[in-house]
């Protein structure tokens, strides 16, 4: 399979997977965003919300890295700048979920 076909397929699978997680998250976010500290901590530390939130974050950043790289492809002409932008994007898409996973697992 061509690398571009593989990237397109992975993008489509991740977008399909992301939809139910987006619905789940926005409904829960609306229900907790005005609540007190204890309620919010409880939400992010209890199961299954903890694992669902972390899966949502991982897929969201993975999907965003794939799709934002398409925006770079369309708008950045200079190959070097495009490569740097893509590398920074990928690093960001790995570090942010990682920090969140570590943070949530240390929150009690």
């Amino acid at each position: 399979m061509h690398v571009s076909t593989k990237k397109w397929l992975i993008t489509k699978i991740s977008s399909f997977l992301l939809i139910p997680f987006m619905i789940w998250f926005i409904l829960n976010f609306i229900s907790i965003y005005e609540n007190d500290y204890q309620t919010v901590v409880f939400f992010f530390t209890k199961q299954p919300t903890k694992i669902l939130f972390l899966i949502f974050v991982v897929i969201a950043f993975f999907f965003s890295a794939l799709t934002i790289s398409e925006i770079f492809e369309d708008y950045i002409k200079d190959q070097k700048i495009k490569n740097v932008a893509n590398k920074l994007l990928n690093i960001f898409a790995i570090i942010m979920p990682l920090i969140t996973i570590i943070g949530i697992y240390n929150l009690s």
Partner: protein
């Protein structure tokens, strides 16, 4: 060949706006807004480490009118992205390519995003 310093794609300045181009560029902008919002939400969860007193600052913001506007705005960006992404997925399966159908689904995605925003907010707030 002479290298021209034109923008690569799409030429937004010269396109006549229509539902397809409007939704296409909005989809990209909303996608970027969503990932920025998710990044802020990740920092929000990490800010819980700072304790209940620091959390009060964030909580006061969320309880303000601006905070509510941000939450409702997030409902819309999520709604729009979900509906337009579904439209894209149907295209990928070979459905809805006809120009007329494409325009109808575009309008449905746009109108539906506002309906979904209201639904997400009301369901989230346990109004039902």
């Amino acid at each position: 060949m002479e290298e021209k310093n034109n923008p690569l794609s799409p030429h937004l300045q010269i396109y006549k706006w229509q539902i397809s181009s409007l939704l296409s560029i909005t989809h990209r902008i909303v996608g970027v807004i969503n990932i920025l919002a998710i990044t802020i939400i990740c920092f929000w969860t990490l800010s819980l480490f700072l304790g209940a007193e620091s959390y009060e600052l964030i909580n006061n913001f969320f309880k303000s009118l601006l905070g509510k506007f941000v939450a409702i705005g997030l409902c819309w960006t999520f709604s729009f992205h979900i509906l337009n992404e579904l439209r894209h997925l149907f295209w990928d399966m070979g459905y809805g390519f006809d120009l007329k159908i494409s325009k109808i689904t575009g309008v449905l995605a746009l109108v539906g995003s506002f309906i979904f925003t209201i639904l997400f907010y009301l369901v989230g707030k346990n109004f039902f």
